[in-house]
Amino acid sequence: MENIQNLPKHQQQQLEQHLVNSQVKDSLTMYMGLVERCFDTCVNNFRTKSIDKYETKCLTNCAERYIKTANRTGLRFQEHQAMQMKRAQEMAQGMGGAN
């Protein structure tokens, strides 16, 4: 994270605008990736032009379960990052805390 702290004020704002913009792009990219993954798993026969009730159930469950997975990995990931930050601070204090 050191790159971010020592940026001048107006660049921090540009960074925040970049962050907000990328969130729009990230969620669209995640959406596109989720369709591709669940379509690949759930839709395998093309005798008809529209998805049947088994495919519909599989697609809906696949999307629901991916969102639940992402929420869960999000929590574990944040916990892990918080723990690493704590360890890094302790190490800094350990070395005479001159940071």
């Binding site: 591709e36 379509f39 093309f46 992402a70």
Partner: protein, 104 residues
């Protein structure tokens, strides 16, 4: 589901820049088109590649594959939207609870 979205709501939330949003929307059409082409090529065109043309069965498979891909796109979109709305509602509740307890 970028995990940055969670946590307290910023006072005056920064909006995405409109030109960027329009560019992204354009790019996503190309991403969608490329993904559906790759999926339908994988599912409909046999990997033996014996001749340069697609035979009849492969062509009608591709037409149906595009239709089913777009159905799936719409269906997954609805699931994601419902999940986002549920999450936004939960965040609102959390804020009201914090205010009710005199929190920030």
């Amino acid at each position: 589901m970028s995990f940055f979205g969670g946590g307290g709501a910023p006072q005056q939330p920064m909006q995405p820049d409109p030109l960027f949003a329009a560019q992204t929307e354009m790019e996503m059409y190309t991403v969608l088109f490329n993904k559906l082409t790759q999926s339908c090529f994988k599912k409909c065109a046999s990997r033996k590649h014996k001749e340069p043309d697609l035979h009849l069965g492969e062509m009608s498979c591709i037409d149906r594959c595009v239709a089913k891909y777009m159905d799936s796109q719409e269906l997954v979109g609805k699931v994601l939207q419902a999940a986002n709305e549920k999450q936004a509602a939960q965040q609102m509740q959390m804020q009201q609870m914090q205010q009710a307890m005199g929190g920030a």
